[in-house]
Amino acid sequence: MAHGNKNEKVVYVGDSRVRKPSGEVSIPPDYTSFPGRSEAFIPNFLLKEWMVGCVVLVGFLVLTIAHPAPLGYPADPTNSAFIPIPDWYFLFLYQLLKYPWVSGSYVAWGVVGIPGVAFGALLLAPFLDTGKERRFYRRPIASALMILSLASCYYLTKVSWDFYQHELEVTGTVPEHITREEKAREAALSGEEAESPAKPAEDVALVDADNADVNAILKSAGCISCHGTDLKGQAGAKIPALRGVGDLLTKEELTEIITNGKGNMPAFGDKLSAEEIGTLSDWLAKQKAAAE
């Protein structure tokens, strides 16, 4: 179909058989549009580009090996102390929204107004800057606006990052991925298997889980509304699990805590009868992990 000659050799520039479209000729591809030392894309120029690519790739791999991708601890929605931080290229937007004149009741300016105008102008730049002149110093308005935007983005990013560092310092927080890496390193140095935060704490089985009296009390007294329907507590809110509580406290201590409360836990002495508290603390004292 193509050229008749079956024993084609790969033919280089000068002998190209890109067919000339009949009728209208599409814009450049012949080499007369830019007089000078033009060269073919493949293989001449692409080989050079690959060399640049190789240098970039080596640099990139060195970075990757020197700085492993960060990984903190598993997401815990109840963690209220975590300082959120977006990736660095969103910091300028994040910072912008902290100023009072683009947040609160003016937040529409911050989320739609200013970014909308800025990104809209960028998107439509060729239709706003329609002059024939291409040199940046001959189109002062476009160039000045771009430089101004770049400077503001740089400034906002820097302020945001400095504030984040300041927050970390004030609250004495070390970013989680660093803590984690540090712990893993220590574990590796002492020859232990690093503790994996991905592994959920092993569930302690309930002893005598089907005790109807106890279940009724747990429900009616509201134990489960804080300690959880599965009685695992809430680690984030520092509410202890009731599973395995028998390992930590005796029946007397449990009775005392239920009756008079402890820490954030309210007293149940006037809500439950002494008999009910007895049943409950009896049952709780039996909750030993070893009893399985």
Partner: protein, 223 residues
């Protein structure tokens, strides 16, 4: 052998003009760093594409281990990072590549802007390029959640809060992104789908348009 197979295909499909068109197109002197060192600024577009290819390949390998659900997402990333041979390299490339692609794209955009290359007749290519920029930012935002650690979770929560404050449609954007009332299981699967299927699909289509247009119009002339 190779040549006869090639000829067999070429006789039937006439493929030579397709690749010759790409191979033989002119690379003029003013964009060739071998002739003018300052022309290295013209490399950023190609490097953006190079890093994008790395992102796609490393991303494909990451999905071999990654599990997009809230119980296993973190565990699978943790396993990939610490147990899988070369896993930390692949994940590292994807993590740092995400930043690098933004940097390269930023430099490429500045080059095009300051050389005035976006002017007629290349307006449409600039617009498509900016759309690619937004897609990349979207990929950055959705990809940030996937490891499901605290940083990912809380940054996404803030991001969705910001989207929520858009007048009139904010509420809908929030529910669309979260897939419900909270940042949770459906948010993760949604972000995964957007990050792995929707945005890359759009990205490839836009890249194709970007490259077709640059081939059709040729590179902007020297200043």
């Amino acid at each position: 052998m190779f040549k006869s197979v090639y000829n067999w295909i070429d006789e039937r499909l006439d493929v030579t003009p397709l690749w010759r068109d790409v191979a033989d197109h002119e690379v003029p002197e003013h964009v060739n760093p071998a002739h003018h060192f300052s022309a290295f600024v013209y490399c950023f577009g190609g490097l953006t594409f190079f890093i994008t290819v790395i992102q796609i390949l490393s991303g494909m390998f990451l999905t071999m281990y990654y599990v997009p659900d809230i119980i296993n997402a973190y565990a699978s990333v943790d396993y990939l990072q610490h147990k899988v041979p070369f896993g930390s390299i692949v994940r590292g490339m994807h993590h740092w590549g995400a930043s690098l692609v933004i940097v390269m794209m930023f430099l490429h955009t500045l080059r095009v802007f300051f050389t005035g290359s976006y002017k007629a007749p290349r307006e449409m290519n600039w617009v498509v390029g900016m759309l690619i920029f937004f897609i990349m930012l979207g990929l950055g935002f959705t990809g940030y959640l996937l490891p499901w650690d605290n940083k990912a979770y809380f940054a996404t929560k803030v991001g969705i809060q910001i989207a929520d404050s858009v007048p009139y449609i904010g509420e809908y954007i929030k529910i669309f992104l979260q897939g419900g009332e909270i940042v949770g299981a459906t948010t993760l699967t949604r972000f995964f789908a957007i990050h792995v299927f929707f945005l890359p699909g759009a990205l490839l289509a836009l890249l194709a348009a970007h490259f077709l247009m640059i081939r059709k119009q040729g590179i902007a002339g020297p200043l």
